[in-house]
Structure formats: structure tokens, C-alpha cells
């Protein structure tokens, strides 16, 4: 058998067990979401076999036979009402059951108090992340002050006000971010040009990010490691390449990483104290950081 046929047959057969294809789950609420998927899946499997079974049976039993006449029957209201009410109850119950999970993941009131807060911006075609730095406070920027939107530009996507002392130690990373394990991470997401979508497949997180609006995205990750962020909303020809990598560290390692970033940021500010230049460096930090990360290897 040619190799490609073998490969394809294997693919066809492995598609039968759909549930096995989920990427590994690494977030706290991911398991609940997966379980809800599984409940619906088994419900659908049951309905599938019921309806297809009946159809197959009818096709065999009631196939055309000579001398046989069909049964003239126009239907029955009791039956109609039964098969109206039963699915209504079933589906409505499913909706109500789903709602609490929906509220947990998306309602602003249910977003937990942030252990780590990051700003995130999508652009054609990549991602920027802004950390509050050593003081844990963001300076004035387009997220916390609408009027700072005027400062937004390709070199200063977050519209950071360099005159604000709180923002002096804020730092930007590009196409990668780092978060601690077992902490409530809150990402305030937006975009600078078109709509993108913040998709962490392993954490079961997806949220469109829209220019002009900030979305609250939260998650709590249960594992250390390196995982991928993808854009899930068509944003132009480079949509497919809008990939970022995030690293989950243990709390101790995360503190170490944060210290190191702060040192870097201090060093750069010590070298280049003037305001406009400092702004430019925040981006070059990002670039430098990214290059070094890439060299360290993501394999």
C-alpha cells in the first residue's frame, strides 16, 4: 500500500475518537469547559444513534414492496407536543447549566482580583505585552486614561506617557509573555489596527480584542512550560503568522524573571535618561529581549 494512502487511512480512523484530540488543558476552568463539551458530545452521540437508527430501520422495513400500500396518516398532536416539550426542556436545561460557566469566564464582575495584570495589544501581525514593572503600577497609558490614546503610535502602541513616574519601570515584550503558575492572571486586551482574537488553545481562552475597547481576559494556569498564543480572527494576509509564545514559570522563577527584567530596564534608563529616548528604548528592550529569547531557543 502506498505510504500516503496508509497515512490517510490512519487519519480517517483516528478521527473517530474526537475527544482524544483536545490539546492538553492547563487552566483551572478548562476542565469544566471540556467536561461540558463532553456532556454535549455524548448527548449528541445518543441522539445521532437514535435518529440514524430509526431512519435506517425505516428504510429497510418500509422499502418499496409489490402489493404493499403505505399508511395514510397525517400525524398526531400528542406526539407533536411531546417531541416539542422534551427537547425544549432538555436544551433549555443545557443552556441554564452552561450559563454559570459562561459567567465565570466572561462576566466582568466575576473577574478575580489580579495577581498579575498585563496589558496586551494585537497588531498586524503580532502581539505586544506591557508589564507594570517593579512598582506593580502602570503609568498613564491608553488603557487607564482615554486621553492618552493620542500618544498611540507604531513606536508607542500603548500610548505610554513618559512623563509619568509610575510608568518609568513599565516594560514591553513582543510576541511573548511570561506568567506565574497558580496565579490569577488578568490580561486587559485591545488592538491597535484591526480586530484580532486572543486565543490560548491549551488554556481554553479566547477573546476578540478590538481597537478602541479593552477586554478583560482572565485565567489561572496549573502547569509550568512553554505554550502558544494564536490569533483566531482573520486580520489580514499575515493572520496565520500571528503567533506568540508564553512561558509559565513557578512563582519563584517568575519573581526571578521579573527582577531580571527590572534590572534590564533600570540599566537602560540609567544609560538613556531623556524622556523621548526612554520611550524608544522600551521598544528596543522588547526587540533585544525577543532576540535573546529566540537565541535561547524555543524548541
Amino acid at each position: 500500500m502506498p505510504q500516503w494512502i496508509e497515512r490517510m487511512l490512519h487519519a480517517a480512523f483516528s478521527s473517530i475518537d474526537m475527544l482524544a484530540w483536545f490539546p492538553e488543558n492547563i487552566s483551572t476552568y478548562g476542565k469544566e469547559l471540556d467536561d461540558l463539551f463532553k456532556i454535549i458530545y455524548w448527548l449528541c452521540v445518543a441522539i445521532f444513534f437514535l435518529t440514524f437508527g430509526l431512519m435506517g430501520l425505516f428504510m429497510i422495513i418500509y422499502r418499496k414492496r409489490e402489493g404493499h400500500k403505505a399508511y395514510n396518516y397525517h400525524g398526531n398532536n400528542v406526539v407533536e407536543i411531546t417531541w416539542t416539550i422534551l427537547p425544549t426542556m432538555l436544551f433549555f436545561g443545557l443552556g441554564l447549566y452552561s450559563d454559570d460557566m459562561w459567567q465565570t469566564t466572561k462576566y466582568s464582575a466575576r473577574v478575580p482580583k489580579a495577581d498579575v495584570e498585563i496589558l496586551c495589544l494585537g497588531k498586524q501581525f503580532g502581539w505586544y505585552f506591557l508589564y507594570p514593572g517593579a512598582d506593580g503600577k502602570f503609568g498613564r497609558n491608553a488603557y487607564n486614561d482615554e486621553s492618552a490614546r493620542e500618544l498611540m503610535s507604531l513606536t508607542n502602541p500603548f500610548g505610554r506617557d513618559t512623563t509619568d513616574p509610575n510608568g518609568a519601570d513599565d516594560f514591553v515584550t513582543e510576541n511573548q509573555f511570561t506568567v506565574p503558575m497558580n496565579a490569577d492572571i488578568v490580561v486587559r486586551g485591545s488592538a491597535i489596527d484591526v480586530i484580532h482574537s486572543f486565543f490560548l488553545p491549551h488554556a481554553r481562552v479566547k477573546q476578540d480584542v478590538i481597537p478602541g475597547t479593552w477586554m478583560n481576559i482572565w485565567f489561572n494556569l496549573t502547569k509550568t512550560g512553554k505554550y502558544e498564543l494564536a490569533c483566531a480572527e482573520l486580520c489580514g494576509s499575515g493572520h496565520y503568522s500571528m503567533r506568540a509564545v508564553y512561558t509559565i514559570l513557578s512563582p519563584a522563577d517568575y519573581d526571578k524573571w521579573l527582577d531580571q527584567k527590572n534590572q534590564e530596564s533600570l540599566a537602560i534608563r540609567g544609560l538613556l535618561p531623556t524622556a523621548p529616548a526612554a520611550e524608544a528604548t522600551s521598544d528596543s528592550t522588547a526587540t533585544a529581549e525577543e532576540t535573546s529569547e529566540t537565541e535561547n531557543g524555543e524548541q
Binding site: 480517517a12 449528541c44 403505505a70 397525517h74 443552556g95 450559563d99 481562552v205 476578540d208 480584542v209 486580520c235
Partner: protein
């Protein structure tokens, strides 16, 4: 009613006993007969031809997309080296660029929705079936009907013209969300592919509205003598309700498109927020617009559009199942009310396309509940279809097999819809291949198989010839097999997290294991594409060489089968009076297992059975 009868009477005198009523009151020039005809049957055939043309084009686009996904970076076979230089990475390389890929997927979606399924479902079946099944000579407004077709080809041409603009065709998806679809690097008054897309869809929308107004008018005013609304076949009911949905929904889309056109062409900011940052785009200072507003307007039409694309076929399938099971439709009124239910609920569920869009999550809760309830009328229909074949005497014709494929694929499409109706489950599968699988199960497995059923069922009346049943069955069988091979594994890709609309999945580590699956899908898709040539060949060959069709080849009850085998302008050669509902099959007390609507005779109804009495 009187005028109809008079017109029919005149026509009947004129044509006499001639079965093939090609004569007209006066001979029309050829362009009035074949191009700018006001005859509803000619217009139906025009819709059919244009839809098949666009089906071919849209299908080719799909295969380009599939090739890139299965064999990224490898040249398109056969025609790769003749593709224009702007579409490929290097001249003559045959490998398509990411830009062209984005254009292909946008074009595939737009063409299939606006130029294939809607024209097939409402244009072709609406025009062909409504006057014939109502027993009348033509539409109420024949000239408007002609215009409803003739807005379509210019729309299609304008859309395709986008390929020849500087930026190529619109690449923002068939949904064309702003800001992506509004931002251009060009000054005002520059025509881009996206601008042309907006104009074209606007025109096609008008084509739909003109047709729909006509259908509603015809159905309300031109039913044959004795035909009440509840004596109409379900095909006509479905088209009636669809037409109402079109008249309510399409103007909203038109308004959204107009606003987007202004943003795109005149640089207004209906949908653009302030201080957008992009290397070249306009809209830097302007704007208090809200991008999500467009999504609301778009989906307010485009979710009902999903039902516009499938309701007519639900009607067709109900008719076909009844005829070939030789049984009345189970729960006729329940079928009508569930159509009304789907249409009504269809207008309050649009937000389920936007669960992850950033709209207020409280709306997510409401839309989740309304969406999940719309599964109810759909399941009522499914159970009634099963009830229709129950205790029937099933003739396995190609039309019946297509109709059963419709029902079974609609079940799968409906079930996969439950996943995404549940908002928290949708978080993961939104914008993945799971959604792609779902929409194709509904629109290809559903609508297109319904269209096959309708074509196989009405072909004898359309062309006066019989199709080859053998080839028709082969076509349905292989379509069914390849369809499932193509689209079922897409659910699996979706569960794996495979995003839709991506040019090269190998960029991501977590998608690397899915290459064999993508390859399998592509091979099946190519098979599916080629299988459709059987259908086209069957249709074209038998127009000339087919066996002559009798008046009523399927022994069916509805009025179109009272017309001559190949009806001319004016349709009927006798006066039509309706004596009963459309589904009196296998009535006890009758020799024949069918009882046409136009045949006199008395019956009584006893416990949901009809009994003939003398």
C-alpha cells in the same frame, strides 16, 4: 382569482390538446425568450445556470484553499504554473501567496452564500415552483422578477472585477468585519476589491428583495381556485416564509453595507474608533465608531440568511419524502408552525456569532438561551420527516436519496450546532474548524443535498425529459461519501484547536500533528468536486438525449404535475381547481396510491386518516 382563471382559459383554448405548448400569442424575439424573459420558468433556469457557474468557481476556490492546507508550499497541480504572478509567491512557482489565500477564502464564502445557495434556493426553486405549485400562469409581477435575476450577473461581475484592482479581491472574509474591511492605505475615492465587494453584495441583496416581494405577492394573490393557505405544499410555505425573512432582513444588511462603503470609500467612521494605528491606514485621528456595531448589523441579516438558505430546501425535502414514501407528510401543520418558529427565532439569535466578539457577556447569556431554543423547531422537523417515512412504501429514487442525505446531514449539522450554542463551549471552538465543519454540514450537507433532491425531482417538469436515475444515484452516493470524508474530520481539527482561515497551520507547534488529517480532507474534497461533474453532465446530456417525460412521472399530487410535460409560457392547458391538500397518498378506498389536488372527489377525515367516499 378571476383574472387567473380567465388567463388560463384563454391559454387553454389557444394551445388546445398540444402537450408541448411552445406556441405563444405572438412570437417573441430570441432575446426576450431566453435572456430578458418574464416567464418564471425561464428565469428559474437562468438562476440555475448562473448558480452552477458560480458553484464551479466557488468550488475551484475551495480546492485551491484545500491544496494549500494539505500541501503548504507546494505548487498547485496542473494550473499552478499559469496563475498570474501576483497570486503566486514567485512567478511560475504555482505556490499561492498568503494575500491570495485570504482573497480565496473570502471569495469562496461570498460566492457560495450569495451567488450559489441563495440563488439556487430562493431564485431557482422560488421561481420554478411557486406559480406551478399554485396552479397559476406566472408570477404576480413578472417584469420585477426579470430584474431580480438581472441584478445578479452584474453583481457577480463587479465582485470578480476585484481581482483586477491594485490590491486584488477583498480579503476580509465573507463577513468583512471592519476595521479590516474599511482600512486602506489609499486616499478617498479609490476603488479597491473591498469597495467592489460592497457594491456587489448590495446589488445581490436587492435582487433578493425584488424576488421576495414578488413571491409574497404571488402566494397571497394568485393561488388556484379552491386553494387555501393550508392547501399549499410545504415547498411553497417554506418559500413564503423565506421571502418574508428576506424582506425583513436584507434591508438591514444593505444599510450596514452602505455604512461600510462610506467608511471604506469616503473615509467616514461609522465603524472606526479613534486613533487607529497602522502603518498606512486612514482613520488615525477620526472616529467615534464602534467596530462591533457592524457585526450586529451584519449578523442580524446573516443569521436569518442561514435559514433563508435552508428553509426552502426543508420544504422541498418534505415534498420529496412524502411523494416517494407514498405517504402524507407527518404533522403538516406542525411543519408549517415550526417553519414560522424557526423564522421568528432566527431573528433573535444573531448574537451567537459574537460570543467572543467582546459584546457584553450578559447578551451572551440571552443569545445562548434563544439559540439553544431554536434547536426545538429544527428537531420537530426532523422527527416529522422520520414520521413521514415511517410505515411508508419507500421508492428509492435519486431524489429520495438526496432528501434522506439532507435529513441525515442536517441532523449532524444541527447537533454540532448545540456545541457552539453553549457559549462556554464556544470559547474554545469559536473560529476553529469545528465551526467550518458545522456550517458545511448545514449548507452543503443540508442545502446543497436539498438542491440535488429538488433538481432530481423537478427536472422532468423543467426540461420535459427524464434524467438517468443510475447516474443520479451514483452522484448522490459519491457526494455523500466524499462529503462526509471532507467535512467530518474538520470537527476533529476543530477539537484540536485548528483555527480557520489560516494559510499555513505548520506555523504552530500544537497543530503539527494534523497534517495527515488535512491531507485526507483535501483528497476527499477533490473527489467531491469531481463528483459534481456527474450531476452537470447528467443534466446537460439529458436535455437533448433524455427520454421524454410524462406529465406526472412520479405520480405526485401537487399542481405542477397537472401542467403539460414541458409547459410553455402560461403553464397550464386546463382550468385548475383544487379539491384537497397536497399530501393525500395511499388513501384507503382508492385504487391509486395518490390523489392529485386537481382531481374532483370527496373524502372524510377520521382520526388523522383520510378516507375516500363516493
Amino acid at each position: 382569482m378571476n383574472t387567473t382563471a380567465a388567463a388560463l382559459g384563454v391559454h387553454a383554448d389557444h394551445v388546445g390538446a398540444n402537450e408541448h405548448a411552445h406556441e405563444h400569442h405572438h412570437e417573441l424575439p430570441w432575446y426576450r425568450k431566453y435572456l430578458f424573459s418574464t416567464d418564471h420558468k425561464v428565469i428559474a433556469k437562468q438562476f440555475m445556470i448562473s448558480s452552477f457557474f458560480f458553484l464551479f468557481v466557488g468550488g475551484m476556490f475551495a480546492l485551491f484553499i484545500r491544496w494549500q492546507l494539505a500541501y503548504p508550499g507546494q505548487p498547485i497541480p496542473v494550473i499552478g504554473h499559469i496563475l498570474p504572478d501576483t497570486w503566486v509567491t514567485e512567478p511560475g512557482s504555482g505556490v499561492i501567496t498568503p494575500e491570495f489565500y485570504a482573497q480565496l477564502l473570502s471569495m469562496h464564502g461570498t460566492v457560495m452564500v450569495f451567488l450559489v445557495i441563495i440563488p439556487f434556493a430562493t431564485g431557482m426553486f422560488g421561481n420554478f415552483c411557486i406559480p406551478l405549485m399554485l396552479g397559476t400562469d406566472d408570477m404576480a409581477l413578472p417584469r420585477l422578477n426579470m430584474w431580480s435575476f438581472w441584478l445578479l450577473p452584474p453583481g457577480g461581475l463587479i465582485m470578480f472585477a476585484g481581482f483586477f484592482t491594485q490590491t486584488g479581491y477583498a480579503g476580509a472574509g465573507w463577513t468583512s468585519y471592519p476595521p479590516l474591511s474599511a482600512l486602506t492605505q489609499f486616499p478617498v475615492f479609490t476603488i479597491t476589491g473591498q469597495t467592489l465587494w460592497l457594491i456587489a453584495v448590495f446589488l445581490i441583496g436587492f435582487s433578493s428583495i425584488l424576488g421576495a416581494v414578488n413571491y409574497v405577492t404571488t402566494i397571497l394573490n394568485k393561488r388556484a381556485k379552491g386553494m387555501g393557505l393550508f392547501d399549499m405544499p410545504l415547498t411553497v410555505w417554506a418559500l413564503f416564509i423565506t421571502a418574508i425573512m428576506v424582506t425583513l432582513g436584507t434591508p438591514v444588511l444593505a444599510s450596514g453595507l452602505a455604512m461600510l462603503f462610506f467608511d471604506n470609500f469616503l473615509h467616514t467612521s461609522f465603524f472606526l474608533p479613534d486613533h487607529l494605528v497602522s502603518a498606512t491606514g486612514h482613520g488615525f485621528e477620526v472616529g467615534t465608531g464602534q467596530p462591533i456595531l457592524f457585526q450586529h448589523v451584519f449578523w442580524f441579516y446573516s443569521h436569518p440568511a442561514v435559514y433563508i438558505m435552508i428553509l426552502p430546501l426543508m420544504g422541498v425535502v418534505s415534498d420529496v419524502l412524502s411523494v416517494f414514501s407514498r405517504k402524507p407528510v407527518y404533522g403538516y401543520k406542525a411543519m408549517v408552525f415550526s417553519l414560522v418558529g424557526i423564522a421568528t427565532l432566527g431573528f433573535i439569535v444573531w448574537g451567537h456569532h459574537m460570543f467572543q466578539s467582546g459584546m457584553n457577556p450578559l447578551l451572551g447569556t440571552t443569545f445562548m438561551l434563544s439559540t439553544i431554543v431554536i434547536a426545538v423547531p429544527s428537531s420537530i422537523k426532523t422527527f416529522n420527516w422520520l414520521g413521514t417515512i415511517w410505515r411508508g412504501n419507500i421508492h428509492f429514487s435519486a431524489a429520495l436519496l438526496s432528501a434522506l442525505s439532507f435529513v441525515s446531514m442536517f441532523i449532524i449539522g444541527g447537533l454540532s450546532g448545540i456545541f457552539m450554542a453553549s457559549a462556554p463551549v464556544d470559547i474554545f471552538i469559536h473560529d476553529t474548524y469545528f465551526i467550518v465543519a458545522h456550517i458545511h454540514y448545514v449548507l452543503f450537507g443540508g442545502s446543497l443535498f436539498g438542491i440535488f433532491a429538488g433538481i432530481y425531482y423537478w427536472y422532468p417538469k423543467m426540461f420535459g425529459k427524464m434524467l438517468s436515475e443510475t447516474w443520479a444515484k451514483r452522484h448522490v452516493f459519491w457526494s455523500f461519501v466524499f462529503f462526509n470524508g471532507t467535512f467530518f474530520p474538520m470537527h476533529v481539527l476543530g477539537v484540536g484547536g485548528h483555527m480557520r482561515r489560516i494559510y499555513d497551520p505548520n506555523v504552530y507547534d500544537f497543530l503539527k500533528g494534523m497534517q495527515p488529517m488535512n491531507e485526507f480532507i483535501t483528497v476527499c474534497a477533490i473527489g467531491l468536486g469531481f463528483t459534481q461533474l456527474i450531476l452537470v453532465g447528467n443534466i446537460i446530456y439529458h436535455i437533448k438525449y433524455g427520454k421524454k417525460a410524462p406529465r406526472n412521472p412520479w405520480n405526485a399530487n401537487t399542481l405542477e404535475w397537472a401542467a403539460p410535460a414541458h409547459p410553455g409560457h402560461g403553464n397550464f392547458d386546463r382550468d385548475i381547481t383544487v379539491y384537497r391538500g397536497p399530501y393525500e397518498y395511499s388513501v384507503p378506498g382508492r385504487e391509486l396510491d395518490y390523489w392529485p389536488q386537481w382531481e374532483p372527489g370527496k373524502s372524510i377525515s377520521v382520526h388523522h386518516h383520510t378516507v375516500a367516499v363516493d
